[in-house]
């Protein structure tokens, strides 16, 4: 990758992995916040209702599907952009 030696790639991979762990905590927190906000709005009881639990679960599924889709689109767009830049095009 970009002319890095094996040991440099190892250092890079370690750093990225550590960074991703930290990122993950933030992303996980955002997911909980967003699904909680959308799904839980009744505080007559302290237990999550069946409806709320179902909503949370669908919210997570949808989030995963969204992320997967956005990952694919992002890769495509990024590849097209790289190509455009390499051609020196505007």
């Amino acid at each position: 990758m970009d002319g890095l030696t094996n040991s440099e790639q190892q250092i890079l991979a370690d750093r990225i992995q550590k960074w991703q762990m930290k990122q993950f905590m933030g992303i996980f927190g955002n997911l909980v916040d967003s699904c909680f906000t959308s799904c839980v709005d009744d505080f007559q009881s302290k237990a999550l209702s069946g409806r709320e639990t179902g909503c949370l679960s669908r919210c997570v599924s949808k989030w995963m599907a969204t992320n997967e889709r956005m990952g694919e689109r992002f890769a495509e767009l990024n590849a097209a952009e790289m190509e455009r830049q390499q051609r020196g095009g505007r």
Binding site: E8, S34, M70
Partner: protein
Amino acid sequence: MFGFGQPKLSSEEKIAAVENEIKVMTEMQTRMAKICSQKCLDRTYREGELSKGEASCLDRCSVKFFEAHTTISEQLQKEQAAKGGMMGR
């Protein structure tokens, strides 16, 4: 961004450059997913799968987000260049 014909970089600089590139890209993708879900998803969550409408909204949103990114960055670069001619570059 980073690329061709650069002067020799130290090992650390090379790693940092790729590291930065990966982080910038990952962050952009995360932001894009977050913002486009806010704009496209039905928040009642009656379904756990993406509807056709949501999926095509996400696809269009991603293209627009990317384009907005490019447009804004080009404008900033232009204005920066016009203003900061003295700072070299």
